[in-house]
Amino acid sequence: MSTRARLLLAVAALLGLVALVSPLWEVRLGAPQYPEGLGLRIYAHTVTGIKEHDLDNINGLNHYIGMQPITPSAIPELVYMPWLIGALVLAGLGVAARGSRRGVLLWLAAFALLGAVGLWDFWRWEYDYGHNLDMEHAIIIVPGMSYQPPIIGSKQLLNFTATAWPGLGAIALGVSFLLAAGVWVGTRRRVEAA
């Protein structure tokens, strides 16, 4: 593998660091009474509001439908996700150092698996928040309605329009994956050409 390809791999691996400091996902909520909007930023290690008290205020509003409060300290994924991303970055650097195409493929496979499991896990949490309502505390009950926000795109949840979109961290991971995949494809062409 050329030095350039290995360098690109290293860059791809290091892009994963962005996902440790930037939000992976953003969920924004808007309603007539919230022209300024409310929002959540989901990081690898925590969940915060976009504005200082957004998380509290979302939790406060969610009690009307009996939704569980979002308590970052109670979400175990937020503890081990940074380690997984960190391991991915280190493994990527290792693959870049060795320059093996097989290593790249394995790394991409692990990356894809992690991404898929991550998205599924995210969906599972959203499903739980949206369906597993505390009926004793649910004040507004619409029969048959679930309050699961979308993974990507917009959805109307009572008076709120919820819009979810990948954050800078997830975009960096996507770019990282595509860059590594490009290196893998590019080096194959060169082999064939030789």
């Binding site: 008290h53 509290d56 205020n57 406060g60 009690h63 409060p69 505390h137």
Partner: protein, 678 residues
């Protein structure tokens, strides 16, 4: 012409003008085609200016948007305000303390924005109390009254609170001369015993307003004042009337002299004399009240003395400029050169020149002395007179193009004239009996211009009639062209005595949206439902209560007895903009509380008979506002009902919030009640 003829002809003329204004279409013709467009602010759009109008005898301040004339807020200052508990709640009661005891009403006259380099800087607004002289500071990030200083040795704080070009001082002059210090003397001894006072109040640090010094003046009536600026910075000007020193039938006896005075005070010189110890320390009894930010609770401190400066001990500090006939306004043009007097009984508008005044002082062009204060020669200081300006000129403001606008009380009009040539350029009738007028920034060094607002006392036929009492009014007039154009009139609360305005952009993004619960250091704050509860100290019952959409915690209290005073300490634990809660109890003899997000307020309640009393949220807060209620049970003395409070945690959300916040470091905390009282 004798005074009697002047006033009679004036009154006749006023009657004639009023008659002309009523019952015909003249007012409507004043409004040209695009007037509605000029004042129309579309739904969802904001006004260009905040206008702060005094509420006159309401004791409050009102805030309007310009050009729409929409009322944005009423800010209680010197009057109790049941709408939000100001002056009734334990935190705000100290704001209305005076040396006379609590004074729950006053008469607000002249709002003044704090200034930097002679222009509004958007930090604070000052306003006077006329009856029991005081000066208040309002914070323009919260639109709340934060500080009040009582002015001792004063009565009728009318010439107040005028602010220097960099807010070094706000200044208050006495309207009714009185014995200083006040004492029991025959009123006939007015000339020997009655004195005037000019008070210089340090104003440039919140919570630290203080009387820097007072100047003891002859016993005249001091009516209005203005700080010099630009060229005349360092000077202060006050109008006087009643140089006759009459003490009865003033309408006649105080209107005899052909000339009264504008007192010119070189405050930088006075400052030097104060620093050099040329003052005497005089015992005085007055109050300084201010809000402590961390607790949002007011403190009232007693003050016992004041530094008094006699003009004779500080030569060069005070001069008198003779000015025709009972001047009301004294207004300084943007360059600081012209000092415009508004003689309410004068037939001309006299304008003094600052340059000529300084030269006359150098040349000692004096016409004698009054109580050691040199009187300058009229001809040596006068720059010009505006001839036939109208009847009853009161107050003048300026645009940025060298024009002056003077309000005419008796002839009910605004007259535009040119500085330097003194020619009248235009007139605009107003409806009716204008006092002050206001141009945004029009008392500053670079007026924003654009509009003049007429502040009128009488409305007669302007709006739908409402019995014997009609609203007062403001009128908005376009001054961008050569001719003034009437755009709008709108009713006001109380008397819109004077106003100030600044561009909305200067302050609208600095507004406090909620108070931080984390930083709330009120001794009875509760930051989560788990901290709420009741406690007893002898005959006092303290309820620490949470208000949050859509309930109170506790919401079921028992064990209160007749003879107890219940202190409701309610905290709105929301941290969300514009989410307020209210609180009121059946039969409460004080007021409701309205709580801003993150704020703790306390109201005292003394139940008189056994029974069960509901309390509820008075500020519509959510879909379940009607459910935001609770009960307190009151038993006969000695009935032995255990003091208890039902606290029902709303949801795990509240536990999460409590866990995230530091607990109140509070030695007075009530006993913790077991959760789940229901």
């Amino acid at each position: 012409m004798s005074l009697r003829t002047i006033s009679q002809s004036s009154l006749l003329a006023a009657a004639a003008l009023l008659a002309a204004g009523c019952g015909n279409t003249a007012p409507k013709q004043l409004v040209s085609g695009d007037a509605a467009q000029r004042v129309y602010v579309a739904p969802g759009e904001h006004d260009e200016f905040y206008s702060f109008m005094s509420g006159g005898f309401s004791g409050q301040m009102t805030v309007y948007g310009l050009p729409s004339g929409r009322l944005l807020k009423t800010i209680p200052v010197f009057s109790q305000f049941p709408e939000n508990g100001y002056g009734y709640s334990e935190e705000t009661k100290p704001m209305l303390e005076t040396s006379y005891g609590p004074v729950p009403w006053d008469d607000t006259h002249h709002p003044q924005l704090s200034k930097t380099n002679g222009m509004p800087d958007g930090r604070w607004l000052f306003i006077n109390a006329n009856n029991t002289p005081r000066i208040a500071r309002l914070d323009l990030t919260t639109f709340e009254t934060d500080e009040i200083l009582e002015i001792p040795n004063a009565a009728g704080g009318h010439a107040s609170p005028f602010v220097t070009a960099n807010s070094e001082y706000v200044v208050s002059a006495i309207r009714f001369s009185v014995p200083v210090p006040n004492k029991d003397v025959p009123i006939e001894t007015y000339k020997q015993n009655f004195k005037g006072s000019l008070s210089f109040v340090t104003a440039n640090q919140p919570g630290k307003m203080d009387i820097a010094f007072q100047i003891l003046m002859p016993g005249y009536n001091y009516d209005l004042g203005r700080a010099g600026k630009a060229k005349s910075e360092g000077w202060f000007f006050f109008t006087t009337y009643n140089s006759e020193q009459a003490y009865t039938k003033l309408e006649l006896n105080a209107s005899k002299n052909d000339k009264d005075y504008i007192a010119a005070v070189n405050w930088k010189e006075a400052e030097k004399c104060v620093a050099a110890g040329k003052t005497t320390t005089v015992p005085a009894n007055y109050r300084h009240n201010y809000m402590v930010a961390a607790t949002r609770s007011a403190v009232s401190e007693k003050k016992t003395s004041v530094k008094m400066l006699l003009p004779t001990n500080c030569p060069g500090a005070v001069y008198f400029l003779p000015t025709p006939k009972s001047p009301h306004g004294v207004d300084i043009d943007p360059t600081g050169e012209y000092i415009v007097g508004g003689g309410k009984l004068a037939s001309v508008i006299p304008v003094h020149s600052f340059t000529k005044m300084i030269a006359a002082i150098k040349a000692k062009a004096f016409d004698g002395e009054l109580d050691g204060i040199p009187v300058l020669k009229y001809d040596a200081v006068i720059a010009g007179e505006v001839q036939k300006p109208g009847l009853g000129p009161l107050h003048t403001e300026f645009d940025a193009k060298g024009n002056a606008y003077t309000s005419m009380f008796i002839s009910s009009e605004i007259v535009k004239w040119k500085l330097g040539t003194w020619e009248v350029l235009d007139r605009m009738p107003v409806y009716y009996s204008i006092g002050h007028l206001m141009i945004p920034g029009g008392d500053g060094t670079e007026p924003y211009g654009k509009y003049v607002v007429a502040l009128n006392k009488i409305t007669k036929d302007r709006y739908l009639p409402t019995g014997g009492e009609l609203s007062q009014s403001a009128q908005l007039i376009d001054i961008t062209g050569d001719k003034m154009k009437m755009l709008l009139d709108f009713p006001t609360q109380g008397e819109p005595h004077y106003a100030q305005a600044l561009p909305a952009a200067l302050i609208k993004d600095k507004q406090v949206k909620f108070f931080s619960l984390k930083d709330n250091q009120h001794p009875y704050v509760v930051r989560a439902e788990s901290e709420s509860g009741v406690s007893r100290k002898g005959k006092q019952v303290h309820v620490k209560m949470v208000a949050i959409r859509s309930h109170f915690a506790p919401d079921m209290i028992e064990g209160v007895e007749v003879g107890d005073t219940v202190y409701w300490h309610v905290t709105n634990i929301e941290q969300d903009w514009d989410i307020l809660h209210g609180f009121a109890v059946l039969g409460m003899q004080t007021a409701e509380l309205v709580l801003q997000p993150g704020e703790t307020r306390t109201i005292a309640w003394t139940p008189k008979a056994p029974g069960v009393y509901p309390f509820y949220c008075t500020d519509f807060c959510s879909a379940l506002h009607q459910e935001m209620q609770g009960y307190v049970r009151v038993s006969a003395p000695g009935s032995g009902v255990q003091l208890s409070a039902g606290v029902s945690p709303r949801s795990a959300t509240q536990q999460a919030r409590a866990a995230a916040l530091p607990t109140a470091a509070n030695p007075h905390a009530g006993m913790k009640m077991p959760a789940g009282g229901r």
